[in-house]
């Protein structure tokens, strides 16, 4: 070996060392996400949050698309966990729950984070959303607007607001109690008419129920009903009244008639969890991390094409309530704990 080549080797060795120490400084965290929905709604938000973490925190990010074959899920989870190279694996989609629980138990060193839901398994970390807090703001908006009545284009003087839930289950009730509390806090005289469709998959039924609510004097209806809720939003356009969207930005489903959307910002929730790990915090198995109004994981987005119809004093009151929830001055009731 010539002197030059020896020197070259030494140089390489030194630079490898330098690189390694730099990587150690960047906390060398690898993150994976596994889901069949990276191209839609919630999944897009997750990818956004991870890309931000990749850019800001220097973590390595891997996305694994599960496809839609139930037979594949377990092997895909095994392939991800087996190498032990990923510190956190985000999981989204209820069809993956079975494979998730098995794998999380078999590979305790990999932290699996289930997004938007809490299961019985004590081996999984949960990223949940304080939907009650977001719904509180939605209720406050609806209440304040109903109080204004016919001052506002498209509203009557029924002094009532509506709620259409999917099935009558604890999670949906959680939205409802928040909505009710918000409406009462902001506009005590406004009445709440709440109904459950009994199904998440029937837009026609959602539409029918909404028309009935409009008939009873409600002018603003909040949908928490998945695809059934699409019918709620469409009914608001058909009746020339208003509705409120849920989970993702639904302003474009019935432009001009969806007053606001209660957003669950998965991008914020995911980014915050990755940041926690980079900062050296451990995610305890079984723990529930709730993204709320304070963290920005849950927020009420006023739809741009309706925003100018909302009076300034209503907007100001909403900001005030939001600050009160964030500071803990207002405690929003919940049905899921």
């Amino acid at each position: 070996m010539s002197r030059w080549s020896r020197r070259l080797v030494a140089l390489c060795g030194a630079s490898v060392l330098a690189l390694a120490s730099q990587a150690a400084l960047a906390k060398d965290v690898s993150v994976a996400a596994i889901s069949g929905y990276f191209s839609q709604g919630f999944g897009v938000a997750i990818v956004e949050g991870l890309k931000k973490a990749e850019a800001d925190l220097g973590v390595k990010v891997k996305l694994v698309d599960t496809g839609n074959r139930a037979l594949d899920y377990e092997e895909q989870f095994n392939n991800l966990a087996k190498g032990g190279e990923y510190d956190i694996v985000f999981v989204m989609g209820w069809e993956l729950v079975d494979a998730l629980q098995k794998t999380a138990e078999a590979y305790p060193n990999t932290k699996f984070v289930f997004i938007d839901g809490v299961l019985d398994s004590k081996h999984v970390v949960y990223a949940n959303f304080a939907q009650n807090e977001g719904s509180f703001l939605a209720g406050a908006l609806a209440g304040l607007m109903a109080e204004k009545g016919s001052e506002i284009d498209g509203l009557g003087d029924g002094k009532a607001i509506g709620f259409v839930g999917g099935r009558d289950i604890p999670v949906i009730r959680d939205f409802m109690v928040g909505y009710e509390q918000g409406a009462k806090a902001a506009a005590p005289d406004v009445r709440l008419d709440a109904v459950f469709a009994g199904t998440f998959d029937d837009p026609a039924k959602g539409s029918e129920l909404t028309m009935a609510l409009y008939g009873q004097g409600s002018d603003i209806v909040y949908n928490v009903a998945g695809p059934t809720g699409e019918g709620v939003l469409q009914a608001s356009a058909a009746a020339g009244k208003y509705s409120i969207g849920v989970d993702v930005n639904q302003c474009n489903v019935a432009p001009g008639h969806v007053m606001a959307s209660m957003l669950k910002n998965a991008n914020v929730a995911v980014y915050d969890l990755v940041k926690d790990v980079v900062d050296g915090k451990t995610l305890e198995p079984g723990s529930v991390h709730t993204a709320n109004v304070k963290t920005g994981g849950v927020e009420l987005l006023l739809c741009p094409d309706v925003a100018d119809k909302i009076p300034a004093d209503v907007k100001a009151k909403l900001e005030e309530l939001k600050a009160d929830i964030a500071s803990g001055k207002i405690k929003v009731a919940t049905t899921t704990q």
Binding site: A70, L71, D72, N79, E95, T199
Partner: protein, 347 residues
């Protein structure tokens, strides 16, 4: 004999051609085809668990392939195996969670429900094909969508378990199809598939009934002249094909998932049809083509994790194989077949 060799050689060449094209596609996504190939092989055969995983993927493709072989031999095209699989899977699960019976009996009954559901689901297309010569390709394909939506409706609206999952309650353990090894979900379904392949092969090559049906597939006019009741045989062959399709669903439900859910086993029916086509409708050949597709599927799961290439690359390669093979069959038929007369499909 040389005809058979030609056919094998042609298929192999077509697959190689498709793999070459696939390599080009991989290059366009900035991944090395060699690395993809190594990862595929590792994912499919890298460890006992992975070999079992490959066989696990092979099982439904094989059974669906046998269902397809049965109809192809008679010159019929059952493309509705997907629907028969969903129906079979659902009703096997239904028996599995609705009744509490002694172990062997429960399993048998659940499997019988799967077979019966598959037969029932093809009965209408089969009747119209036999009686009025309605094109079975169209009617069986259309029945697929109906089956998938009906089973999903029943799952969500009638039998959904509590919680966020869109699935039925789990079946009782007495209806489980036993697993072969402790480290994998691979189960007796594989043995059932292999036994079916042998039985169907035996039927078509060693029994007079099987010979009559093959004859009907090769030349219906001649078979009718020879005294075969075409209508009756057509109906029965399609029903038998549907029964095996239903059984594929039963094996998946009772052996692997132990429940029925939305997106139960999408695509296996079509994979089976392709596996049978590649094998020229030969059940023994289908064992190998199903294994080939099973290995591709299983390998692709590691591909998604270990490389930047998407799992979907396998779908592209599969489609290229279908193109290459059908082109090859057409060319061969044009070259050799001026005498076939009434033949619809040559196997």
């Amino acid at each position: 004999m040389s005809d058979r060799f030609d056919s094998f050689f042609g298929q192999a060449l077509a697959i190689l051609f498709a793999l070459g094209l696939g390599a080009l596609v991989i290059l366009t996504v900035d991944e090395s085809p060699m690395r993809v190939l190594v990862t595929l092989l590792n994912g499919a055969f890298g460890s006992p668990e992975r070999i079992a995983g490959t066989l696990l993927q092979t099982t439904p493709i094989l059974i669906c392939g046998i269902a397809a072989c049965i109809s192809f031999r008679a010159g019929l095209f059952n493309i509705g195996i997907e629907g028969q699989l969903f129906m079979g899977g659902f009703w096997a699960t239904w028996v599995g969670f609705s009744f509490n019976l002694p172990p062997a009996l429960h399993l048998l009954l659940a499997m019988a429900a799967a077979v019966f559901a598959g037969m029932a689901w093809i009965a209408i297309p089969a009747f119209f094909r036999a009686r009025y010569k309605t094109n079975e390709v169209v009617s069986t394909i259309l029945a697929n969508y109906v089956a998938i939506l009906i089973t999903s409706y029943l799952t969500i609206n009638w039998f959904k378990r509590s919680g966020g999952q869109s699935e039925t309650p789990p079946i009782f353990e007495s209806a489980y199809l036993p697993e072969l090894f402790s480290f994998s979900r691979l189960n007796w379904g594989l043995i059932i598939g292999l036994a079916l392949a042998l039985a169907v092969h035996f039927f078509f090559t060693r029994t007079s009934r099987g010979y009559a049906i093959s004859e009907m597939g090769a030349n219906p006019k001649f078979a009718e002249y020879g005294g075969i009741d075409i209508k009756k045989q057509t109906f029965l062959v399609l029903i038998a094909s549907g029964a095996v399709g239903g059984m594929a669903g039963g094996v998946e439900a009772l052996g692997v998932h132990h429940r029925f859910m939305e997106g139960f086993a999408p695509g296996f029916g079509f994979d089976g049809v392709i596996a049978a086509l590649l094998a020229n409708g030969n059940p023994i050949g289908t064992i190998f083509t199903a294994l080939f597709f099973g290995a591709l599927r299983s390998g692709s799961l590691l591909l998604e994790v270990d490389t930047t290439a998407s799992r979907e690359i396998i779908t592209v390669i599969q489609a290229l194989i279908i193109l290459a093979v059908s082109a090859q069959i057409t060319i061969r038929r044009k070259a050799s077949d001026s005498t076939a007369g009434e033949r619809r499909w040559k196997f």
